[in-house]
């Protein structure tokens, strides 16, 4: 529609004069960014030039060639076979795997402990809630490194030797060489049990889907949870006995001055694991508490009002909403735990920082490459954890229309 000339319209002012170049925001921004980039480049050139000079003076060839030369030192705990003649590349791998290993175990224990502490903190039982408060306030206000030292130098190292080991029940021994525990040994027929587990898990998912569809259509419920427990635990157990119990334990036994058989968890790993997970659990406890408190009491009352019992209320109403609040800070706790596992270097658990950024760096002097690789590893691990947790978070997030 063409606009008719409106007799009441105010005559429009002339368009504002174009500002001078130095007053134009676009030009200013461009100028400023060019300056910043120039400055960064200057600093980078300065640093690189100095580094090259210094390296040349010290006679260190840069590059990643050192990864193929022989390491020449041994490592106490490795997840993959490793010996002195292996290369620095293999050392890197050993350290990396140890870092991941301790982080995974730490995350598991910290999550379990943290949820217990968080729920206990909200208990109506005064004593339980206060104990958990004392736990949180003590552990999170003391530096982690101090806690690691405490567990290692004050608790685990002064333990008696193997001959006076503390016995912690059947087949568990604690002494200054670590914690000995029975090692499960799978026999040939064990694959039957594994197969039974896989099959029953598959069946469980099919049944769950069927029950879901049926409930949507008819409203009839099916006890999926109890059925699942019965299926996933019962069937493999039956198969286990039917196959003639194809599993036995290799118990550690004192032979001479040391234990043989079983598995051993080194004091370094044990101290680091305990300290990392109890410390992180204090933070997770607070997060869990805040998450549960964030679900308003009206939700619980509404759930009771529509006739849900306590269990389903928790499972279907409270926990899904609390998780939304819990997951983002929980992610950063997992990241912290992974990064904190680098404190292993202080008690000589052979993680990435100790064997690679420590020993390898001392031996080769390739500071730039090694530190860059180490940092890249932690950045990648952080990225992976946050990607996984973001995916989970999106899955749990409120679906808004």
């Amino acid at each position: 529609m063409a606009a008719d000339p409106d007799p009441l319209s105010v005559p429009t002012a002339a368009p504002p004069a174009k500002p001078a170049v130095w007053n134009d925001p676009a030009w200013r921004a461009l100028f400023f960014q060019v300056v910043v980039v120039g400055f960064v480049i200057l600093v980078a050139v300065f640093l690189v030039k100095n580094t090259l000079n210094n390296l040349e003076r010290q006679g260190i060839a840069s590059g990643f060639g050192f990864l193929n030369s022989t390491a020449g030192f041994s490592i106490g705990e490795t997840l993959i076979p490793y010996h002195e003649e292996n290369t620095y590349g293999r050392t890197f791998l050993v350290g990396l795997l140890n870092t991941i290993w301790i982080s995974v175990w730490g995350v598991m224990l910290a999550t379990i402990l943290g949820f217990i502490v968080g729920v206990a903190r909200l208990s109506t039982n005064w004593l339980i809630s206060k104990i958990s408060m004392v736990y949180i306030e003590i552990l999170r206000n003391i530096p982690l490194l101090l806690q690691i030292f405490f567990w290692y130098f004050a608790v685990l190292r002064p333990l008696p030797g193997p001959r006076q080991s503390l016995s912690l029940g059947d087949g568990f021994f604690l002494n200054n060489r670590g914690m000995y525990f029975p090692d499960p040994v799978l026999e040939d027929d064990f694959w039957l049990v594994t197969a039974a587990i896989i099959v029953s898990v598959a069946v469980f998912f099919v049944v769950r889907r069927w029950a879901h569809i049926r409930q949507d259509r008819t409203g009839q419920q099916f006890p999926v949870f109890w059925f699942g427990i019965g299926l996933i635990i019962g069937v493999p157990l039956l198969m286990f006995f039917a196959a003639g119990s194809p599993l036995h334990f290799d118990y550690p036994a004192l032979k001479g001055f040391n234990f043989t058989g079983g598995s051993v968890m080194s004091p370094e790993f044990f101290a680091l694991w305990l300290a990392l997970s109890t410390y992180t659990a204090a933070f997770i406890g607070e997060i869990v508490r805040a998450g549960i408190l964030s679900v308003s009491h009206g939700q619980t009352e509404a759930a009771y009002a529509v006739g849900l019992r306590r269990g389903p209320t928790l499972r279907l109403v409270i926990i899904p909403q609390a998780l939304r609040v819990i997951i983002p800070p929980l992610t950063s706790q997992y990241l912290n735990l992974t990064k904190n596992s680098s404190l292993a270097a202080a008690i000589a658990y052979p993680d990435l920082v100790l064997v690679f950024a420590g020993t390898t760096l001392m031996q080769t002097g390739q500071a730039v490459e090694i530190i860059a690789m180490t940092m890249a590893v932690y950045l990648t691990l952080s990225l992976i954890i946050s990607t996984i947790m973001n995916w989970y978070n999106n899955k749990m997030a409120l679906v808004e229309r």
Partner: protein, 369 residues
């Protein structure tokens, strides 16, 4: 019937006392410890836990502990040997700082405390001058006092610094330096200029994604490589640079949280009255944003304070490093626990009071609804 039955018109009955099951000690016990069979069980388990944990700690730390004496023979090792802490107290507090010069550190402490007292007086009018003094004058004063070499003070090299003193130096320097860097980074991250934003994001995420210990390794082995030939920095400076970069990244995220919490109307209103970018930020946005994030800054400081213990890995003797070092003294081998408990108490007092203070601020600054 001899009892008289009183008649009350509706609404005039005097209040009756609450039933015994909900008031007093019995009511409290019934509600908080014994409300259900499950709770009774939990109470019994917790009481047992308390029983096996608390009395041994008390008897170790106080009842059986040895407080008097000069040598390790004065300790019977049944309880804690606090003699050990008394003997090494100076080292734990000041490291190997010359004993005759300790007054310098103490003076700086006292000045700091005196400067802080007015900040806690509500209604004191010159708080911002104290802030200026603490941020710009005090660091220079403290450095001159600690390091010497000017004003007729004897020079004390940084390798002699140690103990709680070094921990405080690192933590305070880290926080004071990281705040301005963090603010600049946070502003950069929210800038409209893509290059600036990308650089700031990369910087922040790099330091936040790696552990402090690799940053310290980097600053201790790579920093010398970065500098021109012949330029030498001592270990403490290198550690400080690492700590600063690291905490600046965390600080930037805290400040960014504050910036995001400021409603858009504030920016628009400031622009509408014609303020330039720096005036807009400095006069309108940052004062509000920083106020919101004071608790976050305090929390970052607590984290940084605990993390300073990591400098012992690159060979500085901070509070924990000193405890670790004196525990290897041949005359006093095997007193790890006492040293750790002492250091833990020190850290705990600092961190706990700071976290309480931050909670207090959070309540005080919560001026919303």
């Amino acid at each position: 019937m001899s009892e008289q039955i009183a008649h009350y018109s509706p609404g005039t009955h005097p209040d009756m006392p609450a039933p015994a099951s909900i008031v007093g000690l019995r009511g409290w016990l019934q509600q908080n410890l014994l409300s259900s069979p499950l709770n009774i069980g939990l109470t019994i388990i917790s009481l047992y836990l308390v029983y096996i944990i608390v009395p041994p700690i008390l008897s170790w730390g106080f009842i059986d502990a040895d407080w008097r004496g000069e040598t390790r023979e004065d300790c019977d090792r049944v309880g804690a040997c606090w003699v050990y802490i008394r003997i090494w107290f100076k080292q734990l507090m000041y490291g190997r700082y010359p004993v005759t010069e300790l007054w310098r550190i103490n003076t700086a402490y006292i000045v700091l405390i005196l400067a802080f007292i007015p900040l806690f007086i509500p209604g004191f009018r010159y708080k911002h001058w104290i802030g200026v003094f603490l941020l710009f004058v005090y660091p220079v004063f403290a450095f001159v006092m600690f390091h010497g070499d000017t004003a007729g003070l004897e020079i004390v090299e940084t390798p002699l610094w140690g103990g709680l003193f070094l921990t405080l130096v690192i933590a305070v320097t880290g926080i004071v330096a990281s705040l301005p860097i963090g603010i600049v980074l946070a502003l950069g991250r929210r800038s409209n200029m893509p290059v600036v934003r990308a650089l700031c994001v990369a910087f922040i995420e790099l330091w936040r994604g790696v552990p402090l210990i690799t940053v310290l390794f980097m600053s201790s082995v790579m920093f010398p490589l970065f500098m021109p030939e012949g330029m030498h920095f001592d270990k403490l400076i290198r550690a400080l640079v690492g700590v600063m970069l690291f905490s600046a990244a965390y600080m930037a995220e805290v400040v960014r949280g504050g910036l995001q919490a400021i409603p858009k109307g504030q920016f628009e209103a400031a622009q509408a009255v014609g303020l330039s970018y720096w005036k807009l930020m400095g006069l309108i946005i940052l004062p509000q944003a920083l106020k919101i994030v004071i608790p976050g800054i305090v929390n970052t400081f607590i984290g940084l304070f605990k993390d300073t213990t990591l400098v012992l890995i690159i060979g500085l003797f901070d509070f924990l490093g000193m405890a670790q070092a004196v525990a290897t003294n041949p005359d006093w081998l095997g007193f790890y626990v006492e040293g750790y408990v002492f250091v833990a108490c020190g850290f705990w007092i600092f961190c706990f009071s700071m976290s309480r203070y931050s909670q207090h601020l959070e309540r005080k600054l919560h001026t919303g609804h």
